[in-house]
């Protein structure tokens, strides 16, 4: 029973265009939402987050949107750069402690 789903295994985008990565969840108890980026042979690196009391958080080229009624989270990267090519995971926190539940990831390829 997957609580967090990233339905697109991969995404290919031209340099300079917008990348949109999506994440859907089923459990309303999640209260904090994060995006991590992962390069090969490295651990996931924190990118941006949003709490459940907000619907948008922006940090430079990265914006995260939260639609609680739809249980949907998205990450927008604009403009996309070749260095953004990596695997992106959404990670959701809920319940006791800071345990995060991760999606399966989306491979982003930004073509120059």
């Amino acid at each position: 029973d997957q609580q967090v789903k990233q339905n697109s295994p991969s995404l290919s985008v031209q340099e300079g265009r917008i990348s949109i990565l999506n994440c859907d969840y089923t459990n309303s108890m999640f209260d904090y939402f994060l995006w991590y980026k992962k390069y090969p042979a490295e651990g996931p690196t924190f990118l941006i987050s949003i709490s459940s009391i907000k619907d948008k958080n922006e940090d430079g080229r990265f914006t995260v949107f939260l639609n609680k009624s739809a249980k949907h989270l998205s990450l927008h990267i604009v403009p996309s750069q070749p260095g953004d090519s990596a695997v992106y995971f959404c990670a959701l926190r809920g319940g006791y402690g800071n345990k995060l539940v991760f999606g399966a990831g989306t491979i982003l390829r930004v073509k120059s």
Partner: protein
Amino acid sequence: GAGVSQTPSNKVTEKGKYVELRCDPISGHTALYWYRQSLGQGPEFLIYFQGTGAADDSGLPNDRFFAVRPEGSVSTLKIQRTERGDSAVYLCASSLAGVGAGANVLTFGAGSRLTVL
């Protein structure tokens, strides 16, 4: 240290053997987590320590898996009688304690890749 350090980076073992994986968290981070990542999947929670005690071990798949953190800093994940299905990247992460944005962000190590032949 500056980041989360995990050793070994790679471990190849035979089915039935015992394995230990080590994690050295960021100094000052009292919360420590172990995750497991299989090919094509996201990290899967195993266990969470707050200080020396395991606050949540609900993700450990069975009693062959055990983790300790005796002094509230370095942690060791122990796997007994390894099976081929245990092959994965084992990730360790640490974070600040308590509530707030800093406590929600986990900093991960590069992982220990375990291969059971």
